[in-house]
Symmetry: C2
Subunit: 298 residues, 2 copies
């Protein structure tokens, strides 16, 4: 049984006339008769009583008519649903983000605007570390993620630059350097550092180390953490200093003072990653476009 049989059956049932039904279907009468016969054979019973003038439904036919109409409608609905998902009007997107991304106003703005524009798309959020998110995207547990630059190449991933903000120094509030309007990296050379571990911080960690090296020293790391918010809190407790994205100043943690870094300041790059294969998936496309739009506007 194919949907064709049901389409033909419904036409004949509605017209109660093979020839007219065939015209309506855009085929000739004999093939229509054949297809109906075929359906009747498969179902093991006549669906029509052939009368001198047209046909009438048998009891079995009458029962099938309702079912056939419903099936055809359901098939059409299923196709329409797929098309809506394809157009990005419906569906779901699993978005990952690192903890520090939440602090830059762009990211909440992107999320809010996506929810507003594509209200029939379920947007779920997952906060994790950069390498964990990269792995999740690769294994198809997360569709896209805002992350720091990856340490590995990320060949199978599409990587889109989103933000490139300066980093600042985070100092315990009583610190001597807090008196200055600007801090040079070299001034921090003897300070104890609180930083991301290398795998967790990924490109951000590397950028800090690189900048320090360029300034002429290697930072002495006394404590590692896996979330910026933890780092800021550790700085507040006086454990050491840190270098964090400028947007972290939003956090307003008591006991922490931020100071700009004298040029060249290290940059905190934020990227949006997704599977290369999914780059053209509607939800991904929409998210990429929206992010670009809001990023350039800001």
């Amino acid at each position: 049984m194919e949907l064709r049989h049901l389409r033909y059956f419904v036409a004949v049932a509605e017209e109660r006339h093979f020839t007219r039904a065939a015209q309506r279907l855009g085929i000739n009468q004999p093939p229509l008769s054949q297809q109906i016969r075929q359906l009747e054979t498969e179902l093991g019973t006549d669906l029509f009583r052939r009368l001198p003038r047209g046909v009438a439904l048998t009891e079995a036919g009458e029962g099938l008519l309702e079912d056939a109409r419903r099936l055809l409608r359901d098939a059409e609905l299923a196709a329409e649903r797929v098309r809506r998902v394809a157009r990005g009007e419906q569906g779901r997107i699993r978005l990952g983000l690192i903890n520090s991304a939440s602090f830059h106003p762009l990211i909440p703005r992107v999320i809010r605007e996506f929810r507003r524009r594509y209200s029939n798309v379920t947007l779920s959020l997952e906060e994790r570390t950069t390498p964990s998110l990269a792995a999740a995207v690769r294994r198809d547990t997360v569709d896209a993620a805002f992350v720091r630059p990856l340490l590995d190449g990320g060949e199978d991933l599409h990587v889109e630059a989103v933000l490139d903000e300066p980093m600042v120094v985070a100092l315990p509030s009583g610190h001597a350097l807090a008196a200055r309007a600007q801090v040079s990296l070299l001034a921090l050379s003897l300070e104890p550092f609180v930083l991301f571990s290398r795998p967790v911080g990924a490109g951000l960690h590397e950028e800090i180390i690189r900048a320090c090296r360029e300034a002429g020293f290697s930072p002495r790391v006394v404590q590692e953490a896996s979330q910026v918010s933890s780092i800021v809190n550790l700085v507040a407790s006086g454990l050491g200093v840190s270098i964090v994205p400028a947007s972290m100043q939003q956090m307003h943690t008591e006991g922490v003072i931020y100071r700009p870094i004298r040029r060249p300041a290290p940059k905190a790059r934020l990227q949006l990653i997704c599977r290369e294969a999914d780059r053209d998936a509607p939800q991904i496309r929409n998210l990429l476009a929206l992010t670009r739009e809001l990023a350039t506007r800001a």
Copy 2:
């Protein structure tokens, strides 16, 4: 879109592998790829992400998988429903009967037994006159009916003899003939008669007139009625005598006495009619068989 596409799609989605799915479907891999591509083209989106090892569902594909499974199951159920109706296990039958049929024990017995044996078949009853039932059967408002012999030929109808019972005389209880154990028709020649009108009584009316003619007189009809029960009541009220099927004695109406008619007594024939075209319809076949079975057993 055809059900074939959905069947193929579900196979690939479940195997996550074209070649294995093709084996399961009993076809080769290239045509399967083709059919899936065709479906994807029609729906305007990819349903699978082609990976180095097998495939994965896209979001659109994931949505379609549920719908496709449901559609295929529904189609199978619809086919099964038709087959059940065809086997007479399910469905409906609209049975007509004339008033007098209810008084012969066979008819209620047939109805009761049909309901018991085919409990998933909805049996509806409609009590009307013989010509009205014949018309109803012809216009497909009623599927089968217990009636008296038709006046017209009934070529388009299947007519099955069910019962052939003797008729008896119905007399007002005070009537002189009530004293006799048996009444000859000729003894009624001067009596006022209460009878069916010719169209309503159909063959029954004709049989009575024929029998009287044979006995040598034409009955004087003073009142007509369209139901036997009315006739019996009219006899009870003293309006005249009548000739009714023997089973009417069941009615036990006060003021009416029944007496056998001396041979040759007129016969009340009861028939079961249905559309000739429907003769092989399962419900009709079952009803015919059951009626024959109970009629011969009695």
